[in-house]
Amino acid sequence: MRAMVYRGPYKVRVEEKDVPAVEHPNDAIVRVTLAAICGSDLHLYHGLMPDTRVGHTFGHEFIGVVEQVGSSVQNLQVGDRVMVPFNISCGSCWFCARELYSNCHNVNPNATAVGGIYGYSHTTGGYDGGQAQYVRVPFADVGPVRIPDWMHDEDAVLLTDAAATGYFGAQLGEIAEGDTVVVLGAGPVGLIAAQSSWLMGAGRVIVVDHLQERLEKARTMAHAETLDYDEHDDVVVELKRQTDFLGADVVIEAAGAEADGNLLQQVTGTKLKLQGGSPVALNWAIDGARKGGTVSVVGAYGPIPNAVKFGDALNKGLTLRMNQTPVKRQWPRMFEHVRNGHLTPRAMVTHRFPLEHIAEAYHVFSAKLDGCIKPLVLPDAA
């Protein structure tokens, strides 16, 4: 089969690989029909995630058709069209039993601090991902769900991570009616977080980024106010000014470990790798929130420490909430929101690349060329 393969930082290509085999009785093999590149894949692509091995196939956002099932699989049949949460989870450990599907203890021998994720290095379990023609899906009775007939494939693929994470980010914010919500990052995650904040009763939503097409999307798709951080010498002061010097009731950090806006932090964190990525957005979140407010972090950070302004968080009495998204827990309610048009994941798709052009796809998304917001990958369109 054809599969995306990592060759080292900033280098990927397509290679011929063996079709994955059933390795456990509850495995399924899924033929991928549509995949996507996530902002999180960029952290791998830039070499920021420890134990990313050459030869690894990325991709944790994918949908497809069940091609083969192991002997104990009961809920899926060959031929089913399925969407697969990015988390691999057993359904039976202490954490899964409490619906913390992103924190499963039975699927990742390499680390206890993070669960299993498709195509996301050996630090999350060493599973090849879905930017390929076929993928091994462990615990087929737990993760995958048949795609409802009414659902568009492009909505389905975004629900496997980006959209679910935006919605989860808003949930973690514990938004109360009338709250002012600031969203840092107008990528796919931030845009859905902004849309979701309204559903949870926000009175104002302000989205911060510096890419014009994305800010435009935040205004049109998410009905939000926007703030271009390139236009302000100090974003935190601007946020204070705009919130009557209170700060935001809730800040959702949807930028992650490669946040920009401070050249020194960006270069030491992501280029020279002297710290575990850049803490710029996290620190803006802490300093931009009002005292007693909530900071919800869905932007991804790796295991290496960062220069985070923890003292400010303490002195302000902030509530910090964060996790990898337990995707499947979000779905029933999100399906309703997508069906009645309250959430519009596929409105963010700007690019569709054949798998064979994977190197260009990564470069365009990484450098944010050509107004790219969300790139999809088509495994069969050679």
Binding site: S72, S92, G126, L172, G201, G203, F245, V267, A367
Partner: protein, 196 residues
């Protein structure tokens, strides 16, 4: 109501919202649909629901371990299911194995060793690829072609991050250039030595 000139943060009143519920509902599709915390799937935070996950086992059957699988020493054992994508091998494998065997996830050394393993892996893989029919090609594999097909210059106009984008080619190509320079001087010295 206190003096409207004084910002909210300095007075006790909560200012009236800018828009009413009705205005928000009229402007934003679905506004308030999830206002009731019961409608938010994250409530309650720890929701004990073991019967609903799809699992029909108490503890999963164990996936056969065909070769010794590295694991975090914070785990009691190799988890019943695990990925087999790229087993440890070579020098990078030895470095990574040491990181897993010796240091827990709580130790910075664990992660720094893994990063060293990653760089050794990348470099030895590049070198090894030159002995195959499919050598690494820094041009096609970085996708820089997209700079021409997807508006490299146009897309960056006025963007602050363009300042550090100039470092990307240095990070990617720098070691290649340095490698070529070392090889070139090495070969030259050798040629000179042979001539004398």
């Amino acid at each position: 109501m206190t003096d409207p000139e004084i910002p909210s943060a300095y007075v006790r009143d909560k200012r009236p919202p800018r828009e009413t519920r009705e205005q928000l509902r009229a402007r934003i599709p679905g506004w308030g649909a999830d206002l009731d915390p019961a409608d938010r799937p994250s409530h309650p935070r720890l929701h004990y629901a073991p019967g609903t996950t799809g699992a029909h086992w108490d503890f999963p059957e164990r996936q056969p371990e065909r070769q010794p699988r590295e694991r975090s020493i914070e785990h009691a054992f190799v988890t019943p299911v695990f990925g087999t994508a790229q087993p440890l091998r070579g020098v990078s494998g030895a470095i990574r194995r040491l990181a897993y065997r010796r240091f827990s996830e709580g130790r910075l050394a664990h992660w720094l060793l893994l990063i060293v393993g990653d760089r050794v892996d990348a470099w030895s893989s590049h070198l090894r690829s030159f002995a195959t029919l499919h050598p690494d090609n820094p041009v096609t594999e970085t996708g820089v072609r997209a700079e021409f097909t997807h508006g490299g210059l146009r897309s960056r106009r006025g963007r602050s991050d363009a300042r550090h984008h100039v470092l990307d080619p240095v990070i990617v190509a720098g070691p290649w250039v340095a490698g070529a320079a070392v090889t070139y001087t090495g070969v030259r010295r050798l040629v000179r030595a042979l001539r004398h």
